[in-house]
């Protein structure tokens, strides 16, 4: 089957067979119609026997009669020389308005008007032979005369619906027709058609189906195979197929017009020679057919390669306009749309003489309303999405199908951002978790040997050592191993706190109680340094929503900082206030050492106020406190002002439902 598609010879054959079949089909259709119109074709043996012949005789005669009388030109009466006639005795009215009355060649007539004017198309007619011709009329094959004696004819008199009623004429009319058609006229061509119809109408049962089926098959085959060429997957387009559709249509149109012009010119010159005309018509049909093939092929190829529309100039212009609008700034676009809407509605309001305008106006308003409503809904969806994203919630990507135009572009970008965002967060969490795991594992490995160190140092201390120096060294070992222990514990805690790898048990806590409890824990240490705690609470109860265990750890770190670094015998202030935003707790103390460090640096891990790191501590206390506060939804800030060391912890106001 595929080979058929690509075979050039089959295609050529099709193009040759197609017109033959077409002629066959048209002929049979024509015959059928003719038979349907003139059923007596089956009973008659020649054209002159048919009703149609008589009808044409009368029609022609009446046409001639009226042409003759209406032109009514004196110089064209009897004896005027027939001019420019190519057919000898055809027509005396040639060149009348440049029209040729070719059909009356075989039909001869003489009209005598009341005022004795004579009109005729018998060129040999003279005053001498007129009476002879008149008397011999009845010897002719067919004749029809109307004199004062009435109508004399050998035609079967039947009522015919002539446009010009000869019967009512006041003039004398003589007319006759000879059987053998010497001139090319209606009788000859009608006779030809009659002969063709008579000879073909019986074969219609065969020709019609063959014609229809054959042509349909050829059409289907050609439509299927046009554009396919051996060795090519795509549709083959020649250079004509590539020129824009409108230009192609124009070229084909021009070709048709040129051919039609020439056909008309040629037809005019040989109008009276039927045989020549038929031959020339057949020859002329060949280029016409070729142009038709060209049109058909290019049309099919264009449709198949989807270039019919796309390769048209109109389409390109429309695309350009759409692109231009799309590339316009949204403000400008909106302005144009708004202007157009305003313009159209204004016109519709001003031209309010018909009910359709009102209907159109309401329709426009509804459409615009729906459009604006849709945009607003889309806007709200995007707004909610951004709000979720901003709050750090997990978000489902927006369905871009639900959005149009600018919003669609926005949604696509937004989805990208959201997925990038969640990926980054996920990666961050993962890496923090890995870090915490690593630190936890390492600290486990450190703790085992450390256990032995601490235990054997302790055991050694219990041995009765004589040497004082050995005792002193042992003291150092004891202190440092204890510090190492604390350091590993703090390290794990700091990494857990900063990675958020902590399970919080949130509840309502009274900060007043918590601070009192924590002060109780540090009582001795504060007293040792002579630190005086001054509490300044404005409210009876200071409730926050937090985890008690970790809150106590925060205060623990702060108080041990104060116990370590505060100036001995100074005052420590603890203030707690309700502010408009929430609860603010302030810890203020005077540092014993000069603080030549920034607050931010202090909060970094492993940084301590004393650069020498001589004092005990891991340097993680403030960092842990900050991380834990943030985990519980609070804020933790350090302020340094000279020697004043101030920590401010803020928590949101408690909600009733907690």
């Amino acid at each position: 089957m595929e080979q058929f598609k690509y075979s050039l010879s089959i295609k050529t054959l099709c193009y040759i067979i197609a017109p033959i079949l077409l002629i066959m089909l048209l002929t049979s259709i024509g015959s059928t119609l003719y038979v349907a119109e003139e059923p007596d074709i089956t009973q008659t043996s020649s054209f002159v026997e048919t009703k149609r012949f008589e009808q044409i005789y009368k029609n022609c005669l009446s046409g001639l009669y009226h042409n003759a009388l209406q032109t009514n030109r004196e110089n064209e009466v009897i004896n005027s020389e027939p001019s420019e006639t190519t057919q000898g005795e055809s027509n005396i009215y040639i060149n009348h308005n440049n029209q040729q009355y070719y059909f009356e060649g075989s039909l001869k007539f003489i009209i005598e008007t009341k005022d004795n004017k004579i009109y005729t198309n018998i060129s040999s007619l003279t005053n001498e032979n007129i009476n002879k011709i008149k008397t011999e009329i009845e010897k002719q094959d067919f004749y029809w005369t109307k004199t004062q004696n009435g109508i004399i004819t050998n035609l079967v008199q039947e009522e015919t619906n002539n446009y010009y009623s000869l019967e009512d004429s006041e003039n004398k009319i003589y007319s006759f027709l000879i059987k053998d058609y010497v001139s090319t006229d209606t009788y000859k061509s009608e006779n030809m058609i009659y002969q063709i119809a008579k000879s073909t109408y019986q074969g219609i049962i065969i020709y019609l189906p063959i014609g229809i089926v054959g042509l349909s098959l050829i059409c289907v085959y050609l439509i299927a195979s046009v554009g396919h060429k051996k060795g090519r997957e795509d549709i083959y387009l020649n250079s004509f197929d590539k020129i824009p559709t409108e230009i192609a249509i124009f070229i084909i149109g021009i070709l048709y017009i040129i051919m039609a012009y020439f056909a008309m010119r040629i037809a005019q010159s040989i109008i009276n020679n039927l045989e020549q005309f038929a031959i020339l018509a057949l020859i002329g049909a060949i280029p016409a057919y070729l142009v038709t093939i060209l049109a058909f092929v290019t049309f099919v190829r264009r449709i198949k390669s989807h270039t019919l529309l796309r390769n048209s100039i109109c389409y390109r212009i429309i695309i350009k306009i759409i692109e231009f609008i799309k590339n316009m700034k949204i403000t400008f676009r909106t302005a144009i749309l708004y202007f157009m809407f305003g313009f159209i509605t204004t016109i519709l309001i001003l031209e309010r003489d018909s009910g359709w305008n009102l209907l159109l106006l309401i329709g426009m308003w509804i459409v615009c309303g729906i459009y604006i409503l849709n945009r607003v809904i889309e806007y709200y969806k995007i707004r909610d999405f951004i709000q979720h994203l901003y709050e750090g919630n997990e978000v489902k990507p927006l369905n871009e199908v639900e959005f149009k135009g600018e919003f669609k572009k926005l949604v696509l970008k937004l989805n990208d951002i959201a997925s990038g965002f969640s990926n980054a967060i996920e990666k961050g969490i993962q890496s923090e978790r890995l870090k915490t795991e690593l630190i936890t594992n390492v600290s486990h490995d450190i703790k085992t040997p450390l256990t032995s160190i601490i235990n054997y140092v302790d055991l050694l201390k219990k041995e009765n050592l004589e040497n004082d120096k050995a005792k002193e060294y042992l003291e150092v070992l004891d202190k440092k191993s204890q510090r190492l222990k604390k350091l590993t514990e703090d390290l794990v805690e700091a990494s857990k706190a900063s990675s958020g790898n902590i399970k919080l048990n949130m509840e309502n806590l009274n900060m007043k109680e918590l601070i009192a409890q924590e002060i109780g824990e540090f009582d001795e240490k504060f007293k040792e340094k002579g630190l005086q705690i001054i509490k300044n609470f404005t409210e009876k109860d200071i409730l926050i929503y937090a985890d008690g265990k970790y809150m106590s750890r925060i205060l623990d770190n702060l108080f041990s900082n104060i116990a370590k670094y505060a100036l001995p015998n100074s005052r420590v202030y603890i203030d707690a206030n309700m502010t408009t935003d929430g609860i603010e707790i302030m810890f203020k103390n005077i540092s014993a050492n000069q603080l030549n460090i920034t607050a931010n640096e202090l909060m970094e891990r492993f940084v301590r106020g004393d650069v020498a790191r001589s004092t005990e501590g891991s340097g993680l206390g403030l960092s842990i406190a900050e991380s834990l506060t943030k985990l519980q939804g609070g804020s933790f800030d350090i302020y340094l002002d000279g020697d004043l060391f101030k920590v401010v912890i803020k928590f949101k106001k408690i909600h009733q439902n907690h």
């Binding site: 936890t440 600290s443 486990h444 490995d445 703790k447 085992t448 450390l450 256990t451 032995s452 160190i453 601490i454 235990n455 054997y456 302790d458 055991l459 191993s481 222990k485 514990e489 794990v492 509840e507 806590l509 009274n510 900060m511 007043k512 109680e513 918590l514 009192a516 409890q517 924590e518 002060i519 109780g520 824990e521 009582d523 705690i533 926050i544 937090a546 008690g548 265990k549 809150m551 106590s552």
Partner: protein, 231 residues
């Protein structure tokens, strides 16, 4: 003499524990992996076991589960794993106590003593008497004004005694500092919070083995204090 099984793959730690507990008069049976430990348990009468979690052959948790199938002696887990869920896992799998490495030798000894006493004298002082308050091994006799933990007499100041008695009487209930003050002193508290908190810490230091991780007197941070109700 009580037999204590110590299982840890770190020989120095086992030896150190041996030294400490031998001084307390215990007989130590040393094992360095799970299979070995099971063998000794079959061969000897064990009164208490100290198990490390990360040991070869069979880890401490599995060992504890296995031991619990047949034996009821106390098990103390001793591990470098110090996370809450490690402790919970250990305690849920048959351990009675959990000590983290590096440990304080005194704490370990105290916990061993406490567990041995509880195991050997189980149910000895269960009967309720007039004016006597008890939770776990913490007993307050209001007639003699005597407080004992694991049979050891504790010396408390009168204020500390009153606070402890009030909380033990109402064991399981959380009281804020003000409530404690008002109930013990029977008057409005005014700025006495710190004093009460200090007293409570002192009590904790006296009655608890590890005051940082109290067993009886629990600190509910930001809410108050309570005496745990232990059956």
């Amino acid at each position: 003499m009580y037999n204590i099984l110590v299982v840890d793959d770190d020989k120095e730690i086992v030896k150190a524990i041996d030294i400490y507990l031998s001084k307390e008069g215990y007989h130590i049976i040393k094992a360095y992996d799970g299979i070995e430990a099971l063998k000794y348990v079959k061969e000897n009468v064990i009164h208490l076991a100290i198990l490390d979690i990360m040991i070869p052959q069979m880890n401490g948790i599995q060992l504890a589960t296995k031991l619990r199938e047949k034996y009821s002696f106390p098990i103390i887990m001793l591990s470098a794993k110090s996370e809450d869920y490690d402790k919970i896992e250990g305690l849920n799998n048959g351990a009675d106590d959990y000590v983290t490495k590096p440990f304080n030798p005194l704490e370990l000894i105290a916990r061993v003593n406490s567990n041995i006493r509880r195991y050997t004298t189980l149910g000895a002082m269960k009967e309720e008497k007039e004016n006597r308050y008890q939770t776990g091994q913490l007993i307050i006799d209001d007639n003699t004004k005597e407080v004992t933990v694991d049979g050891n007499s504790i010396k408390l100041t009168p204020t500390e005694y009153n606070i402890l008695k009030f909380l033990t009487k109402n064991k399981g209930i959380v009281f804020s500092i003000n409530q404690i003050y008002e109930n013990v002193w029977e008057e409005e508290s005014y700025g006495a919070e710190n004093i009460i908190a200090v007293h409570i810490r002192h009590i904790r230091e006296k009655i608890e083995i590890n005051p940082k991780e109290p067993m009886y007197l629990k600190v509910i941070w930001g809410i108050g204090y309570k005496i745990e109700n232990i059956k």
